[in-house]
């Protein structure tokens, strides 16, 4: 089971691009990388998932280098409503394996 390491907290300003990096040195061949967003008193919400290179959806991009030992969640032009905790998870999609949520990155956006 691959362990992940993320910064505890980050600050940015409205309109800026925010990049949150996650380290997962022991990622396995079958593991995918998934990011979640959590607001206070709510359950985490799925943001994006990828295996390699780059994935983009309507809210974020996920960059994964060739060695897959890290990944970067990119949030374009953040707003105050992007203030939340962001979790990086690594796991095998094909089996009911254990999923571990770390402490995440607390992102604070200022006006």
């Amino acid at each position: 089971l691959a362990k992940t390491t993320q910064p505890i907290s980050m600050d940015s300003y409205e309109g800026q691009e925010v990049n949150i990096t996650c380290s997962h040195n022991n990622i396995a061949t079958n593991d995918y990388i998934t990011w979640y967003q959590q607001f206070p008193s709510q359950g985490p919400r799925f943001i994006i998932q990828g295996y390699k290179t780059k994935v983009t959806n309507e809210v974020a991009s996920l960059f994964i280098p060739a060695d897959r030992k890290s990944s970067t969640l990119s949030l374009p032009r953040v707003s105050l409503s992007d203030t939340a905790v962001y979790y990086c998870l690594v796991g095998d999609l094909s089996s009911a394996s254990k999923i571990i949520f770390g402490s995440g990155t607390r992102l604070s956006i200022r006006p």
Binding site: S41, G43, L93, S94, A96
Partner: protein, 113 residues
């Protein structure tokens, strides 16, 4: 579309009392179901998961138990609550063939007095 419901949203219970939290999923069949607990300012701790009716895997030894009486129903129980059981309890589901992405309910804030 699939939806997940948890209730109650908030619960205050005395030490030593029983607990029953319910979670139901709609719009999907044979989901994987999960119970998590989150302490204030911390990450999520997986308590139980289930891949089918009557199948429960326990991840953390404690005085809590889980049951899955129906395909889309997941129940978290305790016979006697402890102060340390306070926290934010989240139910989640994922597609039957994998763990991610997981889709979470709105949680139950449990306070033990």
């Amino acid at each position: 579309s699939q939806t997940i419901h948890q209730w109650p949203a908030t619960l205050v219970q005395p030490v030593g009392s029983p607990l029953s939290l319910e979670c139901t999923v709609e719009g999907t069949s044979n989901p994987n179901l999960y119970w998590y607990r989150q302490a204030a300012g911390r990450g999520l701790q997986l308590l139980f998961y289930s891949v089918g009716i009557g199948q429960i895997s326990s991840e953390v030894p404690q005085n809590l138990s889980a049951s899955r009486p129906q395909d889309r129903q997941f129940i978290l129980s305790s016979k006697k609550l402890l102060l340390s059981d306070s926290g934010f309890y989240l139910c989640a589901w994922s597609a039957s063939l994998g763990d991610q992405p997981q889709h979470f309910g709105d949680g139950t804030r449990l306070s033990i007095l």
